[in-house]
Subunit: 220 residues, 2 copies
């Protein structure tokens, strides 16, 4: 379980880091919005704690950018307790909103609640016919046999399985697997779709392409 803290106050970062690490989280942090977004792309945290008052950009803006490609749970921290700000944050896709000063215990409790909810979806193995994905360990198996996948292959396949039978657009896939700055690099997909096709060969599964739109994982 890794958490990402985006906050410019060092005291807050220290406090949260201590609290989270004591609960078994691996913690990363960022002082400014830009760095936070990069961290999110690069390290794919399981939860994000986001301060609204960042020096370089508005926290709600950070959240919006993040939500363009990620559904990671986000808990907002803020000194401001104005309703309009809260509503904007929830509207932008926040999962919870805590005003400073906050109780660390409550924060952790809220975080746990979010994670628990998230867990219902993610901990449950993704399955499609003979293919089973285990998100907790990033492992896969086909017809009961373990299937060796690289991290990128796993991420791509997971996206396809989540929307099995439906087209997932090129943009969605690229954002989810390579991050928002790779939206135009559709050749990545060609290469990796190919890798996966080879590994799924002989099974009832098929990665189909919808020209100009995206890919779809089908069961024959």
């Amino acid at each position: 379980m890794t958490a990402l803290i985006i906050d410019d106050e060092i005291q807050i970062r220290r406090l949260l880091r201590m609290a989270l690490e004591s609960k078994g989280y691996t913690v990363r942090d960022a002082e400014i919005g830009q760095m936070g977004l990069q961290e999110a792309v690069f390290h794919k945290p399981d939860v994000i704690l986001l301060d609204l008052g960042l020096p370089d950009m508005d926290g709600v803006e950070v959240l919006k950018r993040l939500r363009e490609w990620s559904t990671v749970p986000v808990l907002i921290l803020s000194v401001r307790d104005q309703e309009a700000v809260k509503l904007a944050a929830f509207d932008a896709g926040a999962d919870d909103y805590v005003s400073k000063p906050f109780s660390t215990a409550e924060l952790i409790a809220r975080l746990t609640a979010i994670q628990r909810r998230q867990g219902c979806h993610e901990a449950a193995n993704l399955q499609l016919g003979p293919l089973v994905l285990d998100p907790a360990h990033h492992e896969a198996s086909l017809n009961g046999q373990p299937l060796k996948l690289t991290p990128t292959e796993y991420a791509l396949l997971a996206q396809l399985v989540r929307h099995a039978g439906k087209v997932v657009t090129l943009k969605q896939l690229l954002r989810a697997v390579w991050g928002p700055q790779a939206e135009e690099q559709s050749h990545y997909l060609r290469v990796y779709a190919n890798h996966l096709r080879k590994k799924l060969e002989g099974s009832a599964l098929e990665i189909k392409n919808e020209p100009g739109i995206g890919y779809r994982l089908d069961q024959r």
Copy 2:
């Protein structure tokens, strides 16, 4: 979408009912914990708003009983703002905790956030008679049958469906599909209107031309 309110104060129930119904929820309510649990069993609400200060039993106790068999999202309402109570509620499986007096708008926002996490958001499909367009997946279907469209065909058809029954000018269509620099290339439209006509053949839909003005998608 149905919500269950468990609260003994009639004013609160009325207030919440109004707010929720205006957001499209079907609302049921209960005055005491026992009734609330029964309601939950029989009507399986999609979300529960639970007051901690019930006359017959402790709210946390209600939550615990509920969690023995249900994972429905629960938002706690409470006049008490003591940390110990909050922690107990979260520990018992609450999804959020709001202290009275609360802002209705914020409450709804928090509820929406929980529901969003729950994954109950359906894409808003464009529909016109037998034709359905799914913008999230760039997919189309006619009479339930998948309809294969190229990206350009899809974009054009989407424009027409959005303004179904009304004339869309040549300029508007060209700008929306080919970009502003193609405003004069009405030739494109003749070709693609034609493609679409062939693909919509046999359905009740018809792409009509208003000479010199634009095109219109009609239902016969």
